[in-house]
Subunit: 160 residues, 2 copies
DNA sequence: TAAGATTGAGGCGTCAATCTTG
DNA sequence: CAAGATTGACGCCTCAATCTTA
């Protein structure tokens, strides 16, 4: 990190660069806050927890290995462990040993967890539309996909 | 929140909308993590704390009212109180009563805080360039500013 | 030795309650 | 009563250490 930290003359950001950066910063602060609050009011869980339920629901057998689940949710192994432990206490997820590799653990969505997800999904999608999708044009969405893909691609620091 | 939560047929996201949304989600998860880690390794503070120091440094007298500081850093009053308390313990910020309105508190950047900011700034800007700015074209930056502005403008849920 | 996963401690943020001043 | 700000409890995330199996 910070390879230029000791350089004498760092290249500061010009006005356009700063505006883009600050826009992105405020977005990364405000958007998770809004989404988290909506889900917390409805079901007492964060967006990360919601994504765990959602990813499991679309996986064969409603089950995934912890390590795979960790990747698709952009979550560290430790964070995921805590999250699944918390969801297990609520009865929405169960853990089983992976039969093919005894180091692995499988997270499985319970019927109760599935019902919770189905109860939350419509409101969540409505929030996503209201906060993001419906505020943007087709062109905006295309540009957003392109920019996000560029920033996430081949960026060790921004991916697992 | 979730005005359509009880609707029978929510409008689900199509593939393009979902790709844009998930791109934004992974960005809002990965980017703060990377920026936080860099600053934490250097000085033991989060990006939010860094922004507090940065905003104070550019204010007249290196001072701002808590409520104003709260707005420009996209931070709740409570969160800011905790942050300034923590920065005060490190000796980087001090608090004073606002002389014009005795309800108000002024956060003031100390000399030590200024030195810390000057030590961190070059590395931080280098990180921002490496992770974001230098990966995007002029056109990308223009599109990013436009999209961020749209999402943050007139959105009660995404602003103070 | 590495890979998969967990644990407990400590830091940060939210929430609700509270205090003071306008 | 409203506005500005703080506090303590609780939940989530990071980090480092640990355990088990490959």
């Amino acid at each position: 990190m910070s390879a230029d930290a000791t350089a004498d003359s760092p290249r500061w950001l010009d006005d356009d660069e700063l505006a883009a950066w600050l826009g992105l910063v405020h977005l990364t602060l405000a958007l998770p806050t809004a989404i988290d609050k909506a889900l917390r009011d409805e079901a007492g869980i964060s967006h990360t927890y919601y994504m765990v339920l959602a990813m499991l629901s679309e996986s064969p057998g409603r089950a995934m290995r912890m390590s795979d689940l960790s990747e698709v949710t952009s979550t560290s192994p430790s964070r995921l462990s805590h999250a699944v432990a918390s969801l297990e206490r609520r009865g929405w997820v169960e853990r089983r040993q992976d039969s093919t590799d005894r180091r692995g653990q499988l997270a499985v969505l319970t019927d109760d967890g599935m019902r919770t997800l189905e109860r939350l999904a419509p409101g969540h999608v409505a929030d996503v539309r209201r906060l993001v999708i419906d505020r943007l044009t087709e062109r905006d969405l295309r540009d957003l996909r392109r920019i996000a893909a560029k920033l996430l691609a081949d960026a060790p620091a921004l991916r697992g």
